[in-house]
């Protein structure tokens, strides 16, 4: 583990933590479901990736890094899929996004 490796991993971890905090804030404060999903979904995938990459740098080569890589792969596949499924289900269920200014002739 080089010194530069440690700095990089610290940066990744801190940026990841900041993104998670902002996602949490978004879930709490955004006005309706679809905007909250933006906040949650984007930070889920990106923040998780950054944190896992930061941990992978700390871990060094070995089985731990391989397992972290599998977790990363899994999160990157399933997180967007779950968001997609949830949004599609909400639209089918009749939930409409809150749209403020609708230009004449456009559909929301």
């Amino acid at each position: 583990m080089l010194e530069q490796g440690n700095i990089v991993s610290h940066i990744c971890l801190l940026v990841g933590a900041f993104l998670i905090l902002s996602g949490g804030l978004g879930i709490l404060r955004f006005p309706d479901f679809f905007t909250r999903m933006h906040a949650a979904g984007i930070t889920e995938t990106l923040a998780a990736t950054l944190i896992i990459v930061g941990l992978m740098i700390i871990a060094g080569w070995g089985i731990v890094q391989l397992k972290l890589f599998f977790i990363l792969l899994f999160v990157m596949i399933t997180s967007p899929t779950a968001s997609h499924a949830l949004a599609k289900s909400a639209l089918h269920g009749g939930l409409q996004p809150k749209v403020k200014n609708v230009v004449d002739g456009d559909s929301p």
Binding site: I77, T78, T81, H84, A85, K88
Partner: protein, 334 residues
């Protein structure tokens, strides 16, 4: 460390909040999801207490299978909890308070949590910890205690699961005469969720492979038969949800599952009887192979296999039973 104590307090507070929410919310869907959160919180708490195998099992069962089965129940029970017209009865409330207070008082008299001189750490635990590396020789001591030293208790646990499955199947599906086909209700599959189906096709083999990894890696890391069986069942249930129950029944028909559930218990019992036939005690693995340590390894491998097979087929069978339930007036409800 003060940090772990702070984490403990925060997790326990979250547990209490979730429990209160589960009791108060009337929408049963929300209750099921809150129960999933409760399972995850409990598992995190176990991780903090360094009990990795228990956390693994709690994650698989409390946050995995349990919400799935409860959702299957909801499909024929209904979504909202009926309003209860009774008010809180004051004598009952006082009784609960008093008994709770007495229990709390009793816990202050108990020995310190994790202390070295407590009776729990004195007698059998010392012998297990000191003798397990030589006698059994696998790194994960939880598995060695569960499968070898306390193998008889584990046999009882497997029999409990088996009996419970028989009970659920008999109550929900009635006695099925051999040769009479059950008419299946129209099962919905998520056919218009194409993305989910494709991702599911990628993931389900990986889930089943991970279940096998957990099964056979139980000697070296957290895992073992119970967790592996539950993970395997979760993969099959995912397949049944995405592609329809009739497709799942073509992969794993019900007679096969019934046979497998019994087969797992039989494997376990046969290992015990084999120990008897080879001249040792019931469930004594040391006589199964040429030297005691490899006999122990063989015995643990076989009984974990039995446990895994029984748990996996039981969970899938219970899921089928819930999904195929008809309501009392004869109309088919999903």
């Amino acid at each position: 460390m003060i940090v772990t104590q702070a984490l403990d307090v925060v997790l326990l507070l979250l547990l209490v909040m979730t429990a209160v929410a589960i009791a108060r919310v009337k929408d049963l869907f929300a209750t099921v999801m809150l129960s999933g959160i409760y399972g995850l919180l409990s598992a995190s708490f176990f991780v903090l207490m360094d009990a990795v195998d228990v956390a693994f099992t709690e994650a698989s069962v409390g946050a995995g299978i349990f919400p799935l089965l409860m959702l299957a129940v909801l499909s024929f029970v209904g979504r909202y909890e009926a309003d209860s017209k009774r008010r809180v009865a004051l004598p009952v409330f006082l009784l609960t308070l008093v008994s709770g207070a007495v229990l709390l008082l009793a816990t202050t008299q108990m020995p310190a949590f994790g202390g070295e001189d407590t009776p729990a750490q004195q007698h059998v635990a010392v012998r297990y910890i000191e003798d397990s590396p030589q006698e059994i020789g696998i790194p994960n001591m939880v598995t060695s205690v569960l499968a070898s030293y306390r193998g008889f208790d584990t046999l009882g646990e497997v029999l409990v699961i088996f009996t419970a499955t028989i009970g659920v199947v008999v109550v929900l599906l009635g006695v099925v005469q051999p040769g009479k086909a059950r008419s299946l209700p129209a099962d919905e599959d998520m056919a218009d969720h194409k993305v989910l189906r494709i991702v599911g096709k990628m993931l389900i083999p990986l889930i089943l492979l991970f279940a096998l990894y957990v099964q056979f890696h139980g000697d070296y890391g957290p895992g073992g038969g119970f967790q592996a069986g539950v993970i395997f069942a979760t993969g099959i249930i995912l397949y049944a949800m995405l592609f329809g129950l009739s497709n799942a029944q073509r992969v794993l028909p019900m007679p096969l599952l019934r046979g497998l559930t019994a087969l797992g218990v039989m494997i376990y019992g046969s290992v015990g009887v084999a120990g008897l036939l080879a001249g040792g005690n019931f469930l004594d693995y040391s006589v199964l192979a040429s030297d005691p340590v490899s006999g122990q390894h063989l015995g643990i491998l076989l009984i974990e296999l039995g446990v895994g097979v029984t748990v996996a087929s039981s969970m899938v069978l219970i899921f089928y039973a819930f999904s195929l339930t008809t309501s009392s007036d004869g109309s088919v409800e999903r």
